[in-house]
Subunit: 319 residues, 2 copies
Amino acid sequence: MTLDLAAIRAAHVTIRPHIHRTPVLTSARLDAATGGSLFFKCENFQKTGAFKARGATNAVLALSAADAAHGVATHSSGNHAAALARAARLRGIPAHVVMPSNSTASKIRAVEGYGGMITFCEPTAQAREETCASVITRTGAVLIHPFTDERVMAGQGTVAVELIEDIPALDVLLCPVGGGGLLAGTLIAAKNLRPQIQVIAVEPSGADDAARAFSTGKRAAVEHPVTIADGLRTTIGQPNFEIMRQHVEAVVTVSDEAIVAAMRAIWETLKIVVEPSAAVTYAALIEGKVTSAGRRTGLIVSGGNVDLDALPWMNRSFR
Amino acid sequence: MTLDLAAIRAAHVTIRPHIHRTPVLTSARLDAATGGSLFFKCENFQKTGAFKARGATNAVLALSAADAAHGVATHSSGNHAAALARAARLRGIPAHVVMPSNSTASKIRAVEGYGGMITFCEPTAQAREETCASVITRTGAVLIHPFTDERVMAGQGTVAVELIEDIPALDVLLCPVGGGGLLAGTLIAAKNLRPQIQVIAVEPSGADDAARAFSTGKRAAVEHPVTIADGLRTTIGQPNFEIMRQHVEAVVTVSDEAIVAAMRAIWETLKIVVEPSAAVTYAALIEGKVTSAGRRTGLIVSGGNVDLDALPWMNRSFR
């Protein structure tokens, strides 16, 4: 398969019975604050609390019976792990998940809750990959990569399909970028459905590898990413980067201060629980990195999995 | 007017252009936890962040031009104050709001944000009523009482109308009770639309005047209400009590511990921001005061206005 609109539409047919069609929320107050018309696509309401349920479900259901026989495996500290565990359970196969030993308790509980089998490893990229390789050797499971897998990207692209179905006349679409699975799917879906739309990727300034890659043409990891947006610390994947450079309008960065302010504004005004990574798109508006004045702007709210005991505004540095 | 289904339907026609039709959320996880089918009517998404927008808007728009000429007045530390200020602004008349001097900053900002004119008073029931009377004498404004006003009750009844339109086959409807405006409207709407429905009122055990009144037949204030559910500390009104005793199935009380646990479960699972008073209905399920096993149970989620700097699980006594 190649990642095109047909693949994304096929993914939508496959996953629709197993996911929520999430609502698009609006707010007169946030519109007034930004001078535009904002449309929040609320993937925090998605199964497993994040858009990751879409891609993982598509990838698992797309496996042949032979490939699925020994289960699936991945390495992830976050939402992809829970999404893959749930997708595997839907299909009745095991999910092996390699998680760094410093993963948060709530993420571990989520994977366990969906029946995932966890192998802990040291919290380094090298340890994650090595441990995952050894789990695959031992079990015969198929790797479902969190963002370079085309079936995953196709599943993530269904977010934009639904948003544009609901709000056809969008001018701009703001999308978070970490590994680039959501961004790649969003770009292919949005630019095919509505060629004049501007898709703008947003990432934290403390993990700005995608912005650097976009301006230099070369992908390179940020050695020590520092950002509250834990879902966006990852380096963009190679296929994701290639799709991004071809279709994206711009890649902008936002400060952690703006992310926390945006997250809080969303909680207070929209009355929804969103995680820091999901607030970067609105942060781009409040930090003036993108203007929405007079434009219909879609914002992908990627997830809502937060530790309610450690909210960022409890942290003195964000007050 | 008398409070009947026709009055509630008329209120709905009046206020519909000015309020949100709020969604009804469901959760496979919360259903599994309780053994029933739960339907959360999300008034936290309502204009001003609470169902109070319905009653205040109906009352203000129902005024004759002569009555409206000098504006409206009320005393409230909470959501009715902001709702009345917004409703008055819709009509282009002043809103005079008497608030206790210890009101939270966010509630004060909300009233100011809608253009309400605040008079502060000592935080006692007597001071509130005296100050409100003197404001009315001075300005000629019309009093819009937060829950004994029939136009207010009729507006609040539209919550149940919408919920039963969306989920016609409800068996049980759980409704918070403070002053009883929402409960009175809910009872008249629900029992007329679906006579076999059981409406159960829920209140905090630290402010259990409605439960006592229901069992003794006599209304009496709890002298020092102690509960985290700040919207439910009020004593039930006389007309509200009369409607309650005639139509309610039961009045149950819940502990503050259960309220905090319910609030947290709703935030974590439904990914929505709700205030403590809005969580009492789910608290009744997790504390075993009501069983939902095998029944379709509606829960009115009354509002979402919380101080994000002072969430109850930050407080050691609820850990």
